[in-house]
């Protein structure tokens, strides 16, 4: 089976996520881009697992999903709180923790 297409798709998705994280200010969008990167890597993991004919990559993908779920819980809670206090979800506004 040729996995080239899967890996290329994974790379495209990852790049989109990456650019999104770096360029967008809205915390929710940044968050979604992070999810996009995670799932891009999941896709690559599953594809490689298929190529190697074992379950290692799939198990790793499950782990990533679990982490992503946990991250969503915590991350959304933080974004909510920030939004409530500042009436803004811009990540550039929350820049008080610095030198």
């Amino acid at each position: 089976m040729n996995i080239q297409a899967y890996v290329v798709l994974s790379a495209i998705l990852f790049t989109i996520g990456c650019v999104g994280v770096l360029t967008r200010r809205n915390a929710i969008v940044v968050f979604m881009c992070v999810e996009l990167m995670l799932n891009a890597s999941n896709l690559a993991l599953v594809a490689f697992a298929k190529q190697h004919g074992n379950l290692d990559g799939q198990i790793a993908a499950f782990f990533v999903m679990v982490v992503a779920a946990a991250e969503v819980v915590v991350g959304l809670a933080i974004i909510m709180t920030i939004f409530r206090t500042r009436r803004s979800a811009s990540v550039d506004d929350a820049s008080l923790l610095k030198y």
Binding site: C18, V21, L22, T23, R25, V30, V91, D92, A94, S95, L96, L97, K98, Y99
Partner: protein, 643 residues
């Protein structure tokens, strides 16, 4: 047992183990040491009776020494070296040092001198220090000194000797600076300690060289193997030992500390800086006869140092107005005589020790006498404020006079016999040295007569409100005993007893006819002394002594008052360069070392000031950093894998 090297007459130390009364040998040291421990640790709880305990213990040591001495006399000549092995001091590699005590004729005489004169001075101190609030501590230090000095003369190896050597140095430091509230006393103590360190360096180097050469520091081993070592080694050893001796015995060029050491209480000057400690250098040389006999060049240097010291000390003694400093100059000069005797080899060792003993008697006597005078004159030491003291203090005057007659060598008195013998031996060795010794005796006559006249005769020059009075009997009785010893000290020479007695230690000199008969030398010596005394009478005794030292004096007097510029020389050659070096080191530390050390943190701080700007609070820039970092890592991995 006496074994001799093939052909030469250097005796080998070969002691038998201690039995009978000699088993008590360790107690001689232990008693005063225990006294020092009790008095110094017990603190104020021993204030009431401390001085009594401190006096009784040296007397106990004296009793044991006397018993052992009598027992030693009962032994055969060849059986007079006794060793007591106490324990193994330490053992490391090839070095095995035992805590061994050696009791032989030489240490026997020293034991009697140290404990005997020491006990008398302890008794005297009870009176002299009666009004001092720290009298108990004074006795603690004195006991410490006595114990260390006994260790010095009893040890069977050079390391044990060094232990005692440093012990007396410590005690001397503590006692010179006993009145530490006086800055001059504190400085004098430090000076004595530092100058002694120079000498100690010589002695410690000698001990190391002994170990390298003979694999041991024991007298027994070294004296047995002395013949096998090269003359060069022996000469170096001799010179190093001489350096040590010069430091401890205040001989040229390490003499400068002795005069300042007179800042200590007078009993200290009598015990440590006249009778015992300063003679340790002479002991060291006589004890190391097996080195010096094989190092003729070192012996020559000893003689040269001795002759310089004789005149150096005498010169100072002639010019000083401070009674204790004049006596200190005299001490240096008289130790010069002992060194001269020791430098002359087998023929002179016994006479060096003889003069050491008689000097111990008469100089202790005179120092204590000077202390008694000071006691009556409200602690004034300037002889220009004395005069006619004999009326007020007849006992002090009479006992002091005995010491005076002994030191100038008045016929019949102890100093006459001992100094005469050294001059005789010196003349037999070399004309030049002999004549120097003879002239030295004349100068001795001059300065001692000057001291005697200025103190006890001539016009009254007392300060207002000073009423001299005789000292209490606790002080005068030791004076009387010492005066008697000063007169009778010559008995050691009857039938050449001391020469025969010391022969097992220092060997026997081959009998030679002196170039001029002994009687002629004696008459000559007495004449020279008479000239010195007469000169003092005309220059001091017949005139009125001014109360203030005249300033328009010749260079000779001025140099004498300045201690022959010994301090100036030391300052220029050693002290000031050291000061500059210290200042330079301090500056280096402050600017260079501290600069590097504090400069580092400052640079790190500056760098951190810039580096922390990275922490700007924008999440997206962090994300970019992470991305760039991840890309770099990936690139690096690829580069490594592809390479």
């Amino acid at each position: 047992m006496i074994a001799l090297h093939g052909g030469s007459s250097i005796p080998v130390v070969d002691p038998t183990s201690a039995d009978g009364v000699f088993g008590l040998l360790w107690l001689v040291i232990a008693l005063p040491l225990a006294g020092a421990a009790v008095l110094l640790i017990g603190g104020k709880y021993t204030d009431k009776w401390g001085h009594l305990l401190g006096t009784l213990l040296p007397i106990g040591s004296f009793a044991i020494s006397l018993a052992m001495f009598i027992s030693l006399l009962g032994r055969d000549d060849h059986d007079r070296q006794i060793d007591q092995h106490l324990y193994t001091w330490f053992q490391t590699g090839h070095l095995d040092v035992g805590m061994d005590l050696l009791y032989d004729p030489l240490s026997a005489l020293f034991l009697l001198l140290i404990t005997g004169v020491g006990s008398l001075i302890h008794v005297y101190s009870i009176g002299y220090m009666a009004h001092d609030p720290r009298r108990r501590r004074f006795f603690g230090y004195l006991n410490l000194f006595v114990a260390a000095m006994l260790m010095l003369v009893l040890s069977e190896n050079y390391l044990g000797l060094f232990l005692g050597w440093e012990g007396v140095g410590l005690a001397s430091y503590l006692l010179i600076g006993f009145w530490q509230h006086k800055p001059t006393a504190a400085a004098a103590a430090k000076k004595a300690f530092v100058i002694n360190r120079v000498g100690d360096m010589g002695l410690s180097l000698a001990i190391m060289l002994f170990f390298v050469t003979f694999g041991s520091t024991s007298f027994t081993v070294i004296s047995a193997g002395a013949g096998d070592a090269s003359t060069t080694t022996m000469t170096i050893l001799g010179l190093l030992l001489l350096l040590g001796a010069c430091g401890k015995s205040a001989q040229f060029p390490l003499q400068a500390w002795l005069l300042d050491a007179m800042e200590g209480p007078t009993p200290v000057s009598a015990l440590i800086h006249a009778a015992t400690m300063v003679t340790a250098g002479v002991y060291l040389i006589v004890r190391s006869n097996f080195v010096f006999e094989l190092a003729p060049h070192a012996q020559t240097v000893v003689v040269v140092v001795a002759v310089i010291s004789i005149f150096w000390g005498a010169w100072i003694g002639c010019a000083k107005d401070d009674i204790k400093k004049a006596l200190a100059g005299s001490t240096m000069s008289q130790i010069g005589y002992m060194m001269l005797g020791a430098g002359l080899g087998v023929a002179g060792y016994a006479f060096a020790i003889f003069h050491l003993l008689t000097h111990g008697f008469f100089k202790a006597n005179m120092f204590l006498g000077a202390g008694s005078v000071m006691h009556g004159m409200d602690d004034d030491v300037d002889m220009r404020h004395y005069g006619m003291v004999r009326k007020a203090m007849p006992v002090t005057y009479l006992t002091f006079a005995m010491g005076y007659l002994a030191i100038i060598g008045f016929p019949g008195f102890s100093g006459f016999w001992s100094k005469d013998k050294i001059i005789e031996t010196a003349l037999a060795d070399s004309w030049l040295v002999g004549i120097c010794a003879l002239l030295g005796a004349g100068v001795t006559g001059f300065y001692m007569t000057r001291l005697m006249l200025m103190t006890f005769f001539t016009n009254k020059r007392w300060e207002k409100g000073v009423h001299p009075h005789e000292s209490p009997s606790v002080m005068t009785v030791p004076l009387m005993v010492l005066a008697a010893l000063s007169v009778l000290g010559g008995v050691f020479l009857i039938g050449d007893w001391i020469v025969d007695f010391l022969a097992p230690v220092v060997g026997t000199a081959p009998h030679e006819e002196p170039p001029i008969p002994a009687l002629a030398v004696t008459v000559l010596a007495v004449c020279v002394v008479a000239v010195g005394v007469a000169a003092a009478w005309f220059l001091v005794g017949k005139r009125d002594v001014p109360r203030v030292a005249p300033q328009d004096v010749s260079f000779v007097t001025r140099a004498g008052r300045e201690e022959l510029y010994g301090n100036t020389i030391n300052d220029t050659l050693v002290v000031n360069p050291s000061r500059h070096l210290t200042a330079a080191l301090l500056a280096t530390d402050k600017y260079a070392v501290d600069g590097v050390l504090t400069g580092g943190p400052v640079a790190v701080g500056l760098f951190a000031g810039f580096a922390r700007r990275v922490q700007n609070g924008y999440v997206r820039s962090y994300a970019l950093s992470i991305l760039v970092g991840a890309l770099l890592v990936a690139a690096a991995l690829l580069a490594v894998n592809l390479a």
